[in-house]
């Protein structure tokens, strides 16, 4: 499998602690670690998980990702972090990140459910630009109050009903939470994809996702959990050619290629 490209569709770069500057050392270590484990591309964002980040905070996050992209242009591709709560500024920011900074999609966090009407203009913008939306997601069965607007498969299914042309990427099916719930809720919608990242590496999670979604709708990713990401894909009892597909899903190749122009 080493002869095939490996695209990690869910990673992050961060600010240096206590600053609003790119953590260059952390960024370099991430790229070095990726190289050691044969990952070719890291699709990175810099989300703000708490509160209600303002447009200027978000621009700073995306500018920082752009610095990481410039620092490692052959490896790091960018996802534009956005907050749907500021519609006009967010639409402008998507344009800026995709058309000026060369990012490949948008990253939404847990500020609003994906099916909230406030997200509709964002979805329509992504459809217009033909870019994927990576959504932080999970069905927390313990402590759901910690993320009250965390989207899960049910929310994505509602979006897919209204927008069958949208490209919706459920973030980290192994990111913690009832992954069966999300898979059952969204598996019937062909425009919903999932990345396999997250620290949860339950035996069967990949086989079940494969059975319900198919390799065409699965993308390799780690979201900070390199060992679990590698372990899941190596340990899964699915055909090697489908593992190769998940490691570099051809359905998403055009997005990655756009980020290389």
């Amino acid at each position: 499998m080493k002869n095939n490209k490996v695209v990690n569709w869910h990673e992050h770069v961060w600010f240096k602690p206590g600053t609003k500057e790119l953590n260059e050392e952390g960024c370099d270590q991430l790229v070095q670690a990726a190289s050691e484990v044969y990952m070719d591309y890291l699709v990175c964002s810099l989300p703000i998980s708490g509160g209600m980040p303002r447009p200027e905070d978000i621009r700073l996050c995306n500018d920082t990702v752009a610095k990481a992209m410039k620092r490692h242009p052959k490896v790091i591709k960018g996802m534009a972090f956005i907050n749907p709560g500021y519609t006009r500024e967010t639409l402008d920011e998507i344009d800026r990140c995709i058309n000026e900074l060369g990012m490949v999609g948008v990253k939404l966090y847990n500020h609003y459910f994906a099916s909230d009407p406030i997200v509709r203009p964002i979805i329509e913008k992504c459809i217009d630009l033909d870019i994927p939306m990576l959504y932080h997601a999970g069905k927390l069965t313990v402590g759901p109050e910690s993320q009250p607007f965390l989207s899960n498969g049910e929310h994505f299914a509602k979006v897919a009903e209204s927008y069958p042309e949208a490209v919706i990427l459920h973030g980290h099916i192994g990111g913690g939470g009832d992954w069966h719930w999300s898979l059952k809720a969204m598996s019937d919608y062909p425009n919903i994809f999932t990345d396999i990242s997250g620290s949860v590496h339950d035996a069967g999670i990949i086989e079940t996702t494969y059975k319900m979604m198919g390799a065409d709708r699965m993308l390799f990713a780690t979201d900070g959990s390199f060992a679990a990401g590698i372990g899941k894909i190596l340990g899964a009892n699915i055909p090697d050619n489908d593992k190769i597909k998940i490691l570099n899903n051809p359905r998403f190749a055009k997005y990655l290629e756009r980020g290389m122009q």
Partner: protein, 261 residues
């Protein structure tokens, strides 16, 4: 050689698990290159009378010579239930089990309760270790009927002074944080403390940092098969910069010595 401290057979009530028989587990071990595994019976956690689960385990292991050569039975004892002393004696003296495994969160007792402390000291007298899994499944996905508690560093810290000669193996938890918390309590202690690394990440050299902090003499290999992919643990060993001598201690030598194999 690899000896795995943390494997199961038996029925997990909250999601479908495959390879959860001695035959299935040994097949997984063969595929992964694991020579021996310490195993307990999940049924013993959920039966009101744990001993029925322990006897099932013994019967199944004794049903085939290969199982007896590969699987090392650990007894799950509930010191809050009548007859636990007899269960302990039966498991260790008659059924030849090599260690104890305790689930205070499932059996709803405190490690510091009088009968628990008595049991822990009995283990020391018999010269057998006590395995304390912090959890079985990730907290964030727990079924509504599953426990909402994990074993914590505080739980262990409180009981250590009450059973100074008991050897403990702490697994499937935040090993780095627990080891750091217990550091001052374990120095000079007669009984030893071992940790697995099943939930430690690969990035930022976290695995190596953990081994350096606690010492390779105190780290053991635990996979949580058949509930989790063992390849996740192999990824950490494979990509770590530990010496072969350190890896050998972690993969089998420490457990071989502890269990007198």
């Amino acid at each position: 050689m690899i000896i795995d401290i943390n494997t199961y057979i038996g029925h997990w009530p909250f999601r479908q698990i495959t390879n959860n028989t001695p035959e299935g587990l040994v097949n997984l071990m063969d595929k992964a290159g694991v020579d021996k595994a310490c195993v307990s019976n999940i049924n013993a956690i959920f039966y009101r009378n744990v001993q029925d689960g322990n006897e099932e385990l013994a019967q199944q292991i004794n049903s085939c010579q290969q199982f007896g050569e590969r699987l090392i039975p650990f007894a799950i004892i509930n010191p809050a239930y009548p007859g636990w002393e007899k269960d302990f004696s039966n498991c260790i003296d008659d059924l030849g089990m090599k260690g104890l495994e305790l689930y205070p969160a499932y059996h709803q007792y405190k490690l510091t309760s009088s009968t628990s402390v008595e049991l822990l000291n009995m283990a020391a007298e018999k010269n057998i270790p006590v395995h304390l899994p912090c959890a079985i499944e990730n907290m964030r996905q727990r079924h509504w009927l599953d426990t909402k508690e994990d074993l914590t560093g505080d739980n262990v810290a409180q009981v250590l002074p009450l059973c100074p000669k008991t050897d403990f193996i702490i697994t499937n938890g935040p090993s780095t944080a627990i080891a750091s918390q217990l550091m001052s309590l374990t120095q000079g202690r007669q009984g030893k403390i071992y940790y697995d690394f099943s939930r430690i990440g690969l990035l930022n050299s976290n695995f190596e940092k953990f081994v350096i902090a606690v010492g390779a003499d105190n780290v053991v290999f635990g996979s949580v098969m058949p509930m989790q992919y063992i390849e996740t643990q192999f990824a950490k060993l494979h990509y770590s910069k530990l010496s072969n001598e350190e890896k050998e201690k972690i993969m089998y030598k420490n457990l071989k010595d502890l269990l007198k194999l």
